[in-house]
């Protein structure tokens, strides 16, 4: 058919086939492709990252910082590349970083990690399901050996299992090193499931490799409780005067606003009780070659804060589903690897550092916006509205 997008079975990343596709698009759609066709590198580097490649999106990157992070893995002042098309976002995060610097830095802690694939095992009835559940727990070591035989990196940590009706919903939880690991876990889990299918002595009717309990690219209670990717906490105690000087708000006002926002989030059944973690994460994910669809999971988090007895502000965020890689996926693409290198986060052994930076970044954005949305009672102006007037597209 004439509407078929040109492809080459020989080399689908050559200049020739790309040019053909560009020509095809121009003819079919009438669009000019003056800018989206201008990538600065050999298109073959994109093999494995995309199909039917014909161009690139050029997304502006700005720099915020430095962000002072006291992590287990990141103990540095970092200039954070943020790619976004939303005016004021970067300026807002930048302001939060100043507060963090003046407070001596944000402390970050990675407390857990697990990437899932979540097969569901299906039986004739609940008793068969229950019996399998017992067997599954008793044979964890054997299954683990099978799953890990497929990967040099992945480690099977746990097989969560939840019984309902004639089914056992599971989550195979892996440590995946410096890769995000979704594909690694698919392969390992598939191998383990096939082994189970052959070796389970009871009656197993069927299984599906994903029963949707991995809750991939979506928020869920099970992700919040058990995690997906890395669970990272960023926390900081902001001296009273630093808070007032920079953000014109007191610790008590912050706590008050927090209580109202949290009540609101509880009532609306929101995926987080803070303001806008997705903004900072999306900008960092995009700049560094992460899968931005994971914002679907990563926006889920909790905030906790209170005025201390000394009159300062303790502020913290726990992100249970940070999914970031320093290796594999999109991290080797040219602009993406440059941004990773800017932060010393490219390649093996850097994923945890990257996750800690992400968590610190989220705190910067929250501090800034929490203060900005307040009304200035003297001038009866609102900084949040004003900032968009000044910096954003509304001009």
């Amino acid at each position: 058919m004439s509407h078929k997008i040109p492809r080459s079975s020989d080399d689908d990343y050559s200049a020739e086939i790309i040019a053909k596709r560009q020509q095809f698009i121009k003819e079919k759609t009438g669009a000019e492709l003056d800018h989206s066709t201008r990538f600065s590198y050999d298109p073959h580097v994109m093999a494995g990252n995309i199909e039917n490649i014909w161009g690139v999106a050029q997304v502006p990157i700005g720099d915020a910082g430095p962000l002072l992070v006291n992590g287990d893995h990141a103990q540095v002042e970092i200039y954070v590349p943020m790619a976004t098309v939303e005016g004021t976002i970067l300026a807002s995060y930048n302001r939060g970083m100043k507060v963090i610097r003046e407070s001596g830095g944000v402390t970050t802690t990675v407390s857990a990690e697990s990437m899932q694939r979540a097969p569901v095992f299906i039986f004739a009835n609940a008793r068969d399901a229950r019996d399998f559940q017992i067997w599954l727990n008793e044979n964890f070591a054997l299954i683990k050996a099978q799953a890990e035989s497929t990967t040099s990196v992945g480690k099977l940590i746990e097989i969560e299992n939840y019984h309902a009706h004639s089914m056992i919903f599971t989550r195979f939880d892996y440590a995946t090193g410096d890769a995000a690991g979704q594909n690694m876990t698919s392969r390992a889990t598939f191998f383990a499931c096939e082994w189970i299918q052959k070796n389970y002595p009871g009656k197993l009717r069927n299984y599906m490799l994903s029963g949707n309990f991995d809750t991939e690219k979506k928020t869920s209670s099970v992700n919040l409780l058990k995690g997906r990717g890395r669970r990272v906490t960023a926390e900081i105690t902001i001296p009273r005067q630093v808070l007032i000087d920079n953000l014109r708000i007191t610790p008590e006002q912050m706590q008050y606003g927090y209580q109202v926002s949290t009540l609101s989030s509880f009532m609306s059944n929101s995926s987080n009780n803070v303001s806008h973690p997705a903004n900072g994460l999306a900008a960092l994910y995009l700049a560094t070659g992460q899968d931005i669809a994971n914002i679907g999971e990563s926006n889920q988090c909790t905030g906790y804060q209170r005025a201390t007895r000394d009159g300062d502000l303790y502020y913290s965020i726990t992100l249970p589903s940070i999914i970031m890689a320093s290796y594999g996926g999109g991290t080797n693409l040219p602009t993406q690897s440059e941004c990773l290198k800017m932060m010393g986060c490219h390649g093996k052994g850097k994923a945890l550092k990257l996750c800690e930076i992400a968590a610190g970044l989220v705190v910067a954005g929250e501090l800034s916006l929490a203060a900005a949305t307040r009304l200035d009672k003297e001038t009866r102006t609102n900084e949040w509205v004003d900032a968009h007037e000044r910096l954003g597209r509304n001009r």
Copy 2:
């Protein structure tokens, strides 16, 4: 301080200041910036979209399609530009589009729209709050006039209001035309709130411009019920043989898998009961200059499907929170506007068409993956795992 990122109060988007920032980054971080500095256009076009600009992310764009959409606003075969770094995604969506074409197209319907700002009004006690709630409902027309005086486009549709304790949580719901509208609604709502503050005859203690009930960049029950952005449904009836031939699965098997997945999503309290809407949406949002942080909201949706009496498959998705603009925001950036133009979706009067394409795209990806995750019982292979082996980074 020496670590201060260079800025120019005169023109922060000039070649000079950008070069200074590039130099600063190289010195501070030691990173090479060979590719991320290569944008193909005058950086001044990025003013209003970002601060501290120094480069661009180049993200691969491929093309999928054509996607045959029978919408109210989109009645066309569309070649869909998708920007992603995740191998196999585009191929998977492309396959779904073939199923859609062979089924005569996907039908799309926009049934509601509303963009929010959500002030909370705070009182001394519950009775004062209740009295305000009554007044608010009775004075909607006056408040609407105030809010709309700030915008030529935005229309205030409704003020949702929810009472708890000494507070009234509201959502000011606007129609925002072809813009996403978050800033327009902030300004209009701020103006309305200030008017309320002055004119409410009762006792109002305070208000906060956002009480977090807008649930921006997060999922929530209130978004699912009342919407945020556009509520779009895409639906299709796939002839039995088309399904079997293309996806090697029967309508009854699809329905069976759907029931299990939906039960799983209910148990895990997931933001959707389907597979991966965030993937397609993120790729399209990125290519077309949308705010990708909105994936935080837009991944929320419901799927519904069943085998029909005639043995075919009825399949549908309702996305209550599609947030897309054809005008403003990032839509005028060079590569982004080219991608919009490819689909005839650039500029005024095109936002609904764009939303319909997005919903159709989601269906394409769901159909493909729903089938792929199944086990081929004869060969005992799993296409999903295999595809990542063949196309993805695992090679």
Copy 3:
């Protein structure tokens, strides 16, 4: 068949048929029925409340109080009858009432009411559904007239409507006076639906009288937001010294515990963020002839508290789904009406007073338990554990 429970089509509440059933049970089960057969009144009064009646459960009732309520409808000191089999519950609520009395009473406010029936209307596709939604909103007055023609009491307040796929999920929200109203709303809504079926000019495929969106006898986000039964708030400011003297806890400690508990409830996706509202409600519902299955809804609520600037404690609970009647249902049964009369809450015009008492009761129980669960750091004892040792079944 010999295992058929004896019934009489003539009079199923006569002493004779009841004796036959008692005899039947004794023979079939071997159980003695020495106490459950001893009801103190003519069994015919139970007609309409139960079928196959053969005895009564005798559930202990104690008295707590007085509860000092400053309501719109209840402005009294009330002795509250509580029926329970759980030791320590009543003593705990009683202690909370003392705190309330010493603080000048609990203030209660009813801010909304609505009892639902929730038909779902089903169409061939999303566009037909959307068109119906528009028609439904435009024809509210006509539909209201139809629904209200079936009842002298019920008033149709609103028809909430939510579009998904080819369906419109609705909630017909009624004011139901002094009755709980579930049956009244079923009948009225059925009548309205039949009228719609005949008079809707478009294409309506089918409807189901309940599409489960009434979320009856379960908790839900839609109940929390839109209410079911009455939305009642109870609030109180407890002077610092009253709190310390009675509960050995400071306002700041209370607020601290509240923040932790609320975070916990947010993480666990709980139906409330307080301790045990179901206890007090169940005891009061049971004593006063309410449907105790409504604890399924009524346990849902929010708590909000903070230490005030003056060092006192502001404490409040909003219960969005209090379902209580002073008329109809079980309220005329002999012991039940006596308990209602004890509080001046029997018969017409008393339902709101009863709801206010219920909300005040919940606050009493929360105050007491919130303090009891704390550790006494000096003695390293825990009052909660101790109370069960002293008063409960553990002795």
Copy 4:
């Protein structure tokens, strides 16, 4: 004070003090107490179940059945005592039991049990919290020994632990034998916590015996996933003709209704996706001396059903939070123990049998109502509405 309810420190369950309280109530409230004062037994048996006892609620009990249960623990035809004041409920459950009998019985399976107390451990920061979490998991055996030293029955199965901010939220999960076990678990967990406080080598700031993660008397995602009390599944395959003859509905219509209801429950974020499990559970809990406030938890469940290839209906319910005792609590009260004995469920070793009966009962009620809410298209009547007209209080 004159408003003080009379109490006796000597014997608060004597006839004298009870008479004084009755007299006090009559004087204070003007109410007659003709029926609520008539209990048929020595009030001293109520010691440990209630304080300030002065009377009893007489709640009608009817009988439904027989319910044919094929359980692991219950393999019998049971006549089920149901205490309720809601007309039509018992008749509806009775009808469902007929369907169950004609289908050969309902199969029940207990797959898990755990009763919780949920201390939260509080630290100075996230790293201290993380370190404690590791220690906690490594020292499970020691902690288990401490907890179990306080009880001859309770067994500590697991300590769930969830990290957020500077806190570790835990759930100590116990097997509690034939008692519901809330108090047993409080005592055991308190003892364990005090041991931890003394023996943890790191820095533990504080702990609260309940951090609200037990989610007691409320629904929650963590209860749904991990259970509270017993997790019980009841399932049945109903022959096509049995379904049609008894309920005038086909398996395909049932499945259709199920899919719509489940979608509705997902959208509304309901605590279950079925119709009214709380009704049957409340009636059984009340008759048998259970804590009816536990309806707050027990209403949470999932339903799953589908038309089989043979044209029959597979129907099942999994209840993750059935909380029932055959021993302790209210089970020894006179009418309550009689009802337990009717079912052979009184005393030690009977709790699981009782849970299985409860689950079978829920299925009976669901089958009946699922069919009743449908419209009879020929007569255009609705059985649900009609039943309340015939049997309920609306006459």
